[in-house]
């Protein structure tokens, strides 16, 4: 535990990123609820401000180091040796950035679609932003849990208050699933603290726990992360929540929230319980493959736009966990990259659906048709994201999936083959969807829709840029994570030649 605080070495980037939205939300509370425009602009300003605030993370990040950077540490609850400790490494830095971007886009996409309880809506969004960044930046388990759980409340309200017709059911389901998982994680956290006497994650990553305890803790944390990801048996909340949530809610859920689970695996399960993770990796791989195939097949029979994309998330997150638990350099980097990709792509898709829903007020695929002629710009955007989702070379989806399948193949050939099948199924349902919605004869229900506005283009444009940026130059992003992932692998397979080789490779690259 670090008792002395040395502010000179500390930057305050992360704390700013966490606090700025929260303070902005607090400020919003004081504003008259009728002044919608003011509220919107303040929310936008806050989120853009936050985006600017996190830029140093991107520019000043030391890519060669596997250590935590931008660390800040203050004493908080000394009785339990809890510190306020935040910092980022190669794994989390990208998610902090992504969170800031997505939050801004959410403010933009809700500009006109939210008409009821506007003030509360933006307060919720800003709270979520703060908590999201907090989750990715926290280096103290207690703090992590605080942020992890604190996200639940605004998210629950977001789904329940501004959601679709079946929102109550979806909100409660979402809340209870995630709460169940996370309370088990809480017990895990408590157990770790009691065994080791610290909540400090960096220290815990360097602590060797007995194997039995590792197994126990692995499953405790698994409960929380698997629900969030969501992995195969506990994924049922996701379609409901995604479908019923408002556009912004769906985007946050798809882009950030479900990444937290996978992030948790990387941050807790692998480094803290390496032996248990290795022992359990086959099981995880099996679950991942089931999720990939199962998610894909379910997608084929979906009639609801959002539901389809939601199930595709199950499939895609299967890829991510497959990558992570293939426990090699390619798989893991692919998994992390795919998390970003999925955040971008699915976020974009949900944004698109939100935009079109705002106009047509229907999500039935059957109600659409020939949208390409009605909304050409929109359909162009949508096409790009569809291709990215399928994993067409040149888009970011390709890079991620390719690395994962490579990693999976290295780890387990069958898994690699089955995962590849998943890609094909993905192509089938996405293309079917695109054809149904955009190319068959114009459905009269959507005949008179106007194309997307400038604001909406601005909303989608950053994601479009990201799609191609990652697609063409993945190194810009994988570069962030190389060192960290390599050191993680060293820890996992410490002493093995294999790991050493990958490390050398990484350094050489």
């Amino acid at each position: 535990m670090i008792n002395t605080v040395c502010p000179i070495e500390q930057s305050c980037v992360l704390t700013t990123a966490i606090l700025l939205p929260v303070l902005a939300a607090a400020a919003l509370m004081l504003i008259n609820r009728e002044r919608h425009t003011t509220i919107k602009w303040i929310a936008l300003a806050a989120s853009i401000g936050n985006l600017i605030a996190v830029v140093p993370l991107f520019t000043n990040f030391d890519k060669t180091s596997a250590r935590m950077q931008f660390v800040e540490q203050y004493r908080w609850i000394e009785a339990w040796h809890i510190n306020y400790c935040v910092g980022v490494d190669g794994i989390s830095v990208l998610f902090v950035l992504l969170s800031a971007i997505i939050a801004t886009l959410c403010v933009l996409v809700s500009w006109n679609s939210v008409k009821d309880k506007v003030k509360e809506f933006y307060i919720a969004i800003l709270f979520i932003e703060g908590a999201m960044i907090g989750v990715f930046a926290a280096l103290d388990m207690f703090l992590f849990y605080m942020f992890w759980e604190a996200m639940l409340i605004p998210m629950y309200l977001l789904i329940g208050v501004w959601g679709g017709p079946n929102r109550l059911y979806a909100a409660v389901k979402f809340f209870l699933y995630t709460l169940t998982g996370s309370v088990l994680m809480l017990l895990g956290v408590v157990a770790i603290y009691i065994v080791t006497g610290t909540f400090d994650m960096v220290r815990l990553m360097n602590t060797q726990l007995p194997f039995n305890l590792q197994m126990l803790l692995f499953w405790a944390f698994f409960a929380a992360f698997a629900v969030k990801v969501p992995m195969f048996p506990v994924h049922t909340w996701l379609p409901d929540a995604h479908t019923e949530a408002p556009a912004a809610g769906s985007v946050i859920l798809a882009a950030i929230l479900i990444k937290m689970g996978a992030y948790g695996f990387l941050r807790f399960s692998l480094p803290m319980f390496p032996d248990a993770s290795q022992a359990m990796a086959p099981a995880m791989v099996v679950l991942s493959v089931i999720a990939i195939i199962y998610g894909g097949i379910i997608c084929l029979s979906q009639k609801d736009l959002k539901r389809l994309i939601a199930y595709s998330s199950v499939s895609h997150m299967g890829f991510v966990t497959l990558g992570i638990f293939s426990l090699n350099m390619q798989g893991m980097e692919g998994g992390i990259l795919q998390m970003i990709n999925h955040g971008v792509i699915t976020g974009a898709l949900f944004l698109c659906v939100g935009m079109v829903y705002e106009r047509s007020h229907t999500r039935e695929i059957a109600d659409y048709g020939g949208l390409a002629s009605v909304m050409p710009i929109f359909s162009a955007f949508f096409m790009v994201f569809t291709f990215a989702s399928i994993g067409l070379p040149g888009t970011n989806g390709f890079v991620g999936e390719f690395l994962i399948i490579l990693g999976g193949f290295t780890a387990n050939k069958t898994a690699g083959i089955l995962a590849a099948t998943g890609v094909i199924i993905g192509a089938v349902y996405m293309l079917c969807l695109y054809q149904q919605v955009f190319y068959t004869g114009v459905n009269e229900k959507i005949a008179g829709l106007c194309d997307i506005t400038l604001r909406e283009i601005v909303t989608l444009l950053p994601l479009l840029i990201l799609v191609f940026w990652i697609g063409f130059y993945p190194g810009a992003f994988t570069g962030f994570m190389d060192a960290t992932v390599a050191s993680l692998l060293v820890k996992l397979k410490g002493g093995e030649m294999h790991a050493l080789n990958t490390l050398i490779q990484a350094v050489v690259r």
């Binding site: 609850i77 000394e78 339990w80 605080m146 409660v172 309370v183 809480l186 017990l187 408590v190 157990a191």
Partner: protein, 481 residues
């Protein structure tokens, strides 16, 4: 009389202030027509007693009958907070119910005095009398709105079960007295430490009886039957008062008797209490699921919370004890907060006691809705509300004592509890208002109480350090150690 003779009385300072407050209130009530004056006086006196805790002295007086130590001071703090907040939220309700008599405040004060005596009891006789002082006042308070048959019914039920539990307590005391030959807790502890009573069936029987009696007071299953009816029927401010005071006092004696006088029998009572704790959480949470009346729901929730707080006692360590104390401290704020929201919705014409009456509250009264939201999430135990800190500490102490399975059950039940707490939130925010222009019964006092509760719930949730340390220190300063 010299000063030296007075100095032991300094240890009784809060008690003396509270006792004289009660008597003064009685006199003032006889001559003053405006009952607001009585309320104000009661509030001022309670605050004075609250601050007198600072000047009180630690030590033992009356030959071990009365112990003033950190432990008792902590509980007295809870009692005073409870008293102050209860006084603040009562006036308006009683006025609306045409039952604003000065005796109400007097009884509140005496009930609090009984709790204080319980918390400070160093002898089973003192404990019993303190308990009776508290209980008798509370019976009357429960039936205070005389023209309301529900209130009367609640009082009768409370009285009958209370009398029964007292008999159990007495039998337990008598057996313990027989086994150890003393009523003094310290002597009992010394006797047990010296001679050991593990094989003595009478000691075991007395342990069971005492557990049952205390379980009645803290409303643990299967001795909770009275809780829902009494909480629903009693006047709402009284419900708020007695959902905390008697419960905390019950925990105070539970801690003092079990952890110190009977600490050598911790294996036996841990087993009994762990079973009680599981049952309590289970029944409390599950039954709360099906309630439609908010007071009844909060009653079952209060049962469930007794189960969580019991976990700390089951752990049978100083840490567990301080966890329980911390839990109760936090529970005080969140529960009184929730009840004051319930109170504000209660108007002369419309009682608003069904959960469905809360529909649209978030829209019509955003601040009140937000406050209720905070309390509900805090009761569920979601960070960053205080309820999370309470549960966290309790679970931690349980896991440290090897009760991982208990903690697992507890978290599962706390997930179940989310169902019914969320339902209130759901009605408030996700349903449209049923009645146009929901009216509120508000006064400055209730508003202030609500603000205090909400502030503390959030404050403890984010900065628990000070409060946790306080509970720890209180246990450290426990007289017997």
């Amino acid at each position: 009389m010299q000063i030296s003779e007075l100095s032991p009385l300094l240890k009784l300072l809060p008690e003396m202030i509270v006792a004289s407050l009660g008597l003064v209130l009685l006199m003032v009530d006889a001559f003053v027509k405006r009952k607001e004056v009585v309320a104000g006086l009661a509030l001022a006196g309670a605050l004075a007693a609250f601050f007198s805790l600072k000047f009180g002295d630690f030590g033992v007086v009356f030959g071990g009958m009365f112990i003033s130590d950190g432990y008792s001071v902590f509980f007295k703090l809870i009692f005073f907070i409870n008293l102050i907040l209860s006084i603040m939220i009562s006036g308006r309700y009683l006025k609306d119910e045409n039952s604003l008599h000065g005796e109400y405040y007097c009884l509140l004060v005496f009930s609090t005095l009984g709790m204080m005596v319980m918390a400070s009891a160093g002898n089973l006789i003192t404990l019993y009398l303190g308990l009776e002082l508290m209980a008798l006042s509370t019976y009357v308070l429960a039936g205070f709105v005389r023209h309301d048959t529900k209130s009367t019914e609640a009082a009768v039920k409370y009285f009958l079960t209370g009398g029964f539990s007292t008999a159990l307590l007495l039998y337990g005391i008598s057996l313990l007295y027989g086994v150890t030959g003393s009523m003094d807790l310290r002597t009992i502890a010394a006797y047990i430490a010296q001679h050991g009573v593990s094989g003595n069936p009478m000691a075991l029987l007395s342990l069971v009886l005492l557990s049952c009696a205390f379980a009645f007071k803290i409303a643990a299953v299967p001795f909770h039957m009275w809780v829902p009816d009494v909480y629903e029927g009693a006047p709402t401010p009284v419900t708020a008062f007695m959902s905390i005071g008697p419960k905390a006092a019950g925990f105070a004696v539970l801690g003092r008797v079990f952890l110190y006088a009977l600490s050598n029998m911790s294996v036996e009572w841990s087993l009994i209490l762990s079973v009680l704790s599981i049952l309590t959480m289970c029944v409390g949470n599950v039954m709360a699921l099906v309630q439609t009346n908010i007071k009844r729901m909060l009653a079952y929730s209060s049962v469930a919370h007794a189960g969580y707080a019991l976990i700390g006692i089951v752990a049978a360590t100083p840490e567990g004890l301080s966890a329980t104390m911390n839990y109760l401290f936090i529970y005080t704020f969140m529960n009184i907060g929730a009840f004051s929201v319930v109170l504000m919705l209660h108007t002369k014409d419309f009682k608003a006691l069904e959960i469905s009456d809360y529909a649209g509250l978030g829209k019509t009264h955003p601040i009140l809705g937000a406050a209720m939201l905070v309390f509900m999430f805090s009761l569920t135990g979601i960070p960053p509300m205080a309820g999370f800190i309470g549960k966290f500490y309790v679970f931690m102490s349980a896991v440290r004592s090897g009760y991982l399975w208990l903690a697992i059950l507890a978290v599962i039940f706390s997930v179940i509890s989310a169902f019914f707490y969320l339902r209130v939130v759901m009605y408030m925010y996700m349903k449209e208002p049923q009645r146009p222009g929901m009216e509120l019964t508000s006064s400055h006092a209730i508003g202030a109480a609500l603000a205090v509760c909400a502030t503390f719930v959030l404050l403890i949730g984010v900065m628990p350090e000070r409060f946790v340390e306080f509970a720890k220190a209180a246990v450290k300063m426990l007289y017997f150690q």
